[in-house]
Amino acid sequence: MTRVLTYLQAIGEALAQQMGLDPTVVVFGEDNIGGTGCDGTLGHAWGPTQGLHERFPDRVFDTPITEAAFVGAAVGAAATGLRPVADLLFVDFAGVAFDQVLNQAAKLRYMAAGRAGAPLVLRAMWGAGLRRGAQHSQALYPVFAHIPGLKVVLPSSPADAKGLMAAAIQDPDPVVFFEHKMLYFSRGEVPEEPYVTPLGQAAVVRPGTDCTIVALGRMVQVAQEAAAELAGTGVECEIVDPRTISPLDTETIYASVRRTGHLVVVDEANPRCGAASDIAGLVAQHAFDALRGPVRTVTAPHAPTPFSPVLEDAYAPSAGQVVAAVRATVPYAEQERAS
């Protein structure tokens, strides 16, 4: 009895189920109900909150374009008994609410020595591919992962999206939940009943012996394509999807590198102080002895996202780049032995 949902539907289902299970869960953001016309009729939400308002009319709210206020309100509400799920729309808009994330949500528990917390979820669309230009296409999770006190979730499949959203809502700490806009209509099997995918547990989404590929978000798909191509030439890659970049399941990564001896990290974010170099640096520190060749990172360039389709298509890492990176790190000898 398998059931297939889109990533978008899976997130929506998690929201609905968690609201059903916990009356303190509230959901808000711009057009999360779907707007109100001049004559007072309610509109229809476009994204994962579609239909929620009909089921939970007292717990889904539209907001004016006041991200600093409503993200801050999520913090205040979370510290006083609610579990808010606030919607930033594009993660790029975190800029206008950043103080409330950086200085309020992330630090509240620490500054209060644990006597309060901010169990909120901040939803944010991210990633390149939709021709939205530099201010609507960023990854930015490295910025959030840098901040102690936050958890940062990057689902790559519908099933994970549902389970991780459930976990994020139930988590006692603030979670930034990244939804890749190019995955919204990707499809996959999703169990119907509520379930939780724990934060901080990586998934080995493809086993392999020759090279570890750590891939994040949409890059998991790209890594799969690359791995399939490499398998054709006898190189078996193991793909690890961390699923949450903070906390990071380093043990699964180190264990994989210990098996394969090689590491390629594929990350759609910008390279400097990014997730790829973070993982590369951690491995160089804690699993150095396992490495039989240089670590390779494949990332977006150190550049904003261009609008033009032809340029944007060259922006995020491609399977071809991943293949090349694996080939560059796995010595030819090994490749041949492996084949």
């Binding site: 109100t36 206020a69 206008v96 021709r131 530099a134 201010q135 261009p306």
Partner: protein
């Protein structure tokens, strides 16, 4: 451009409005046909605001725009073909194809850029005004912002900064009734934005945004105030949009039955201006028809150019992150 200068100013305004209208209606059709990438927010219906405000500006004055920026760019004198190429992401676009509809900018024309962030351009405009003031020019800077964007903190702060620094800036709120699908009845609590300006000492007026002459006159007063050292002003212009929030995004289910039809039939700023020009004899219908023909040709040529223009060189991906050394 002496020929342009000899045209009656209100016919120049007509040309501007007409250009925006045709540009936008055409983009709507092109988008529906699948020929346009990206996020396209059409300005049709609000032409009187851009055209009226920019009619009160000099070439070297500044405007900072919004995500709904085509009208401002055209009214500020940006090249229509270069804009169309930009919207198509082509080489030769006014931003080399790297910006797109939401980031059209042309600093040589004082167009500081459309902006993907609500109210994101407002502080930039204040900065351009500061620049004019420090450099000792009499340039004025305009900040366009939507009714939704007017709720952003950056807008409120910019009003304060402009007042405190006495900057030559004009804040132009374009209250088109909606922020995406959310009506001002909800997000402005049914109120005007003008009192927010007044509250911090910025002279503010509500303006009929369907009446281009009313907009121009209000803008002229604000611009004169700014140029003469009187500091900032705010115009709260009312004019709803013809199309949805964004092409390909909404079915406008949130709009009342017949709302758009009524808008087009009763509150078409271009029709209103046309009727006035004809009624008071400023223009004859042949003259306007000639303008219409030129505009049609201009936009048509722009679309043709955009279709056949080459893509940017892929190497462009990595340039312009920093100044070339």
């Amino acid at each position: 451009m002496p020929q342009r200068d000899s045209t009656h100013p209100e016919i120049r305004i007509y040309r501007t409005m007409r250009t925006i209208r045709v540009f936008e209606e055409r983009l709507h059709a092109e988008f529906a046909a699948g020929g346009v990438p990206g996020a396209v927010h059409l300005y049709a219906g609000q032409e009187a605001i851009a055209a009226g405000v920019c009619a009160a500006l000099a070439d070297d004055d500044y405007v900072a725009s919004t995500h709904r920026g085509h009208g401002h760019a055209i009214a500020k004198g940006c090249d229509v073909t270069a804009m169309m190429l930009e919207i198509h992401g082509k080489a030769g676009g006014v931003c080399g194809g790297k910006g797109g509809s939401m980031h059209i900018a042309d600093f040589d024309r004082g167009m500081l850029g459309a902006n993907g962030v609500a109210a994101g351009g407002v502080p930039l405009s204040a900065g351009a005004a500061l620049s004019a003031k420090v450099r000792g020019t009499d340039q004025v800077s305009v900040a366009f912002v939507g009714d939704g964007g007017a709720n952003q903190g950056a807008f409120a702060e910019s009003l304060v900064l402009a007042r405190v620094w006495n900057l030559p800036v004009v804040f132009v709120v374009e209250d088109n009734g909606y922020a995406q699908a959310t009506g001002t009845r909800f997000h402005l609590d049914g109120r005007d934005v003008a009192p927010r300006g007044e509250a911090v000492g910025v002279p503010s007026v509500v303006v009929d945004g369907y009446d281009v002459i009313a907009v121009r006159d209000a803008a002229a007063e604000a611009v004169a105030r700014a140029r003469s050292g009187g500091g900032p002003s705010l115009l709260d212009c009312k004019a709803h949009r013809f199309f949805g929030h964004m092409e390909g995004w909404d079915q406008q289910g949130y709009r009342g039955a017949g709302e758009v039809d009524r808008l087009r039939s009763e509150h078409d700023c271009l029709a209103i201006h046309t009727r006035r020009l004809l009624a008071d004899g400023t223009a004859g219908s042949a003259e306007l028809a000639a303008v219409d023909a030129e505009v049609a040709e201009l936009v048509d040529a722009a679309v043709t150019a955009a279709r056949s223009a080459p893509d940017p060189d892929p190497a462009e991906l990595l340039t312009d992150v920093y100044a070339a050394v």
